[in-house]
Subunit: 431 residues, 2 copies
Amino acid sequence: MMKIDIGGLKRDLEELGRIGRDENGGVTRPSFSTPDLEARAWLKARIEAVGLAYRVDGAGNIFGRLEGADTAGGAATGPGSGAAGADRGAPRPPKTVMAGSHIDTVINGGIFDGALGVLAALECLRVIKESGRRLARPLEVAAFTDEEGNLVGDFLGSRAFLGRLKRDVLEKELTSYGRPLKDILKRTEFTVESILNAHYAAPELEAYLELHIEQGPVLETEDVPIGIVNNIAGKHYRWCSFTGTASHAGTTPLELRQDAFLGLADFALRSTQLVATHHYGSMVTVGKVQVKPGVFSIVPGQADFSFEFRSHSAETLKTLERVLFNMADDIAVTRGLGFSSRIVDETKPVAISPRLTEILRAECQKLGYPWLMMPSGAGHDAQILAEVADTAMIFIPSPDGISHSPKETVRWEDLEKGANLLLQALVRLAT
Amino acid sequence: MMKIDIGGLKRDLEELGRIGRDENGGVTRPSFSTPDLEARAWLKARIEAVGLAYRVDGAGNIFGRLEGADTAGGAATGPGSGAAGADRGAPRPPKTVMAGSHIDTVINGGIFDGALGVLAALECLRVIKESGRRLARPLEVAAFTDEEGNLVGDFLGSRAFLGRLKRDVLEKELTSYGRPLKDILKRTEFTVESILNAHYAAPELEAYLELHIEQGPVLETEDVPIGIVNNIAGKHYRWCSFTGTASHAGTTPLELRQDAFLGLADFALRSTQLVATHHYGSMVTVGKVQVKPGVFSIVPGQADFSFEFRSHSAETLKTLERVLFNMADDIAVTRGLGFSSRIVDETKPVAISPRLTEILRAECQKLGYPWLMMPSGAGHDAQILAEVADTAMIFIPSPDGISHSPKETVRWEDLEKGANLLLQALVRLAT
């Protein structure tokens, strides 16, 4: 049985992790930043060193390809190219088995989120190639651009790979750097046009597998090294405000106040209690808070805040939207406040292919690895690709549940198990 | 019976209110700012125009003096000069009856908070002077420096007037402009030395009266034009933090979170409920909130906030300090958080002289004005001066309870009543 080399994978992760190292000990490597361009060059060199065929598409997605025995030619027409009818009637090239993730990071992130999935897939392809064994289907390692959404929202690369991006979003919106995407693209070989056309070069996918850190505490709490994801949560993001009346904190009796912050406090507690009690497994979070005027002796007249909830069920998401914002309105009326909100983002839950989870379970059993079927609360490129191919995700534990932080880490023995599981699943899917 | 001229007083208020008018339609005139220096020149001219003797002390406190019939000389040795024994045995000059407030403002404040008390007192002295009536005691109008605490904390001027300032505070601390006081003083005629010595020139006080807007909704709610203050609340200011663990909002189950913001939400609600239920009339406020890291998809790992409470009873303040911070500790333990806090400021409650409130009530009755005995939740120079003299405060309604805002206003008929009450009280005290 083939096995990955954890020592080599560790070296790769640590080497890539030094690119974009920031003053706070983390990695700051958003897509198309200077460190990201350096990381892209590093990854290209690694792909070529392993002997894979390097390819980059118009959205900056990077691929390393290992041809299969059945392969009729190079990159084939893909999922977004149905309208290009020239090849109709010609024999379809074999579908590609792909594995990957992303190498961009959040600001002051860790070295494993994303990079681990790309470099483990690269290591798997290296092992397969060096084994000399020729599998039926072609295999590709993929690194998708801007999974973290530092440019125009999450998943720019995988959405471009599928041809699901809209021109006006790319042309009009400011990035989270506060600059238009066009300006940022000027230092790259990519353009809005090339991003919109990226999907024409995409291969048709047999399956997409992604190995990732859990980014939560469940596997560690349960002491299990492998999570097989059966569902990626949908989410609902809003930016909300309670509005009351700013007044003097020394002279406005408690019963005459319209304290916007107390409205938010009430909503945060009651919404959490409701979700925890009646929708176990769903999430609700107030992450960002701005209280105005925000000084010592003034009762807050306004409280602006981010409010998000996630669920693995589309029906629960709909129920939560109705129940939670009714609750906010009720709190506003009771406390003499106003409440308003606007939707910032919304994604649907994605069910993982039962065929792939069955393969992953079977391979875990063969390898003797304990596993847990579990949902993913975080979004991943796999949920975008699920639209055109069977996708699956393998999680390994995040010690202390930490991610998006310089303290993000993994246990190497967990990573070895996760990468070996990925290897066996890829071999099986490509055979 | 003498009466003030509300037309003239209105003109004065509007004229002074144009100095330091900011782009948001409010007045921004912190002490020793350029607009404040302009306002000081304007006030000096008005004091001299009325025919009073202008004087400024080493802390920039401005006075206009009308000598009484019994006056032995000019400004006499004051409350802070007990150690200057040279005049011991000499006949003590008659004590001064003083009325005033302040002409500095908060950032983007209104034209009435402070200015009204100074200009109403000036109008009273003008009326008394023009009546030709010679009262026994000298009268002074006072404008104290930096009541709003934009420099080194509240009440710089009145604390200097009493000799209660410490050199290290003046020399070491940064002002709320972020600059040392010494730098700010460079553009004035004042120095740290002159501020520390200001009290040597202070006259001994018979009484201090301050007319002020209520800055709260009580008088308007009760539909009464005059509030006679019987107590100024003490306060307790802290800067507090709940600390938990920042974690991914999509992957950290609700029951495994250590959400610092929910700790704050719980504390804000429960502390408010406790004070409202068991300590009616006391105040508790969370005015400033900083949630970290403060982004959409991350469970807050830290929540920093201002926490203040006020009461008219020193005993209640002590009880609240014990009960509320025990509550915060309990919430922290229950939620797996840390809690810490540091005291930012603390003042004791001040009881108003019963002699003066009795005089004010009697004069209200004579004038036919409805009045309400009420506490002041806000701090005022009167509470500092209460240490050395009988002090009292007259409130007039704040429409909609608004102050520290460009929307701060008064009804002119209320102001006329308040100023006439001040006039009658001054005449009685000086006779």
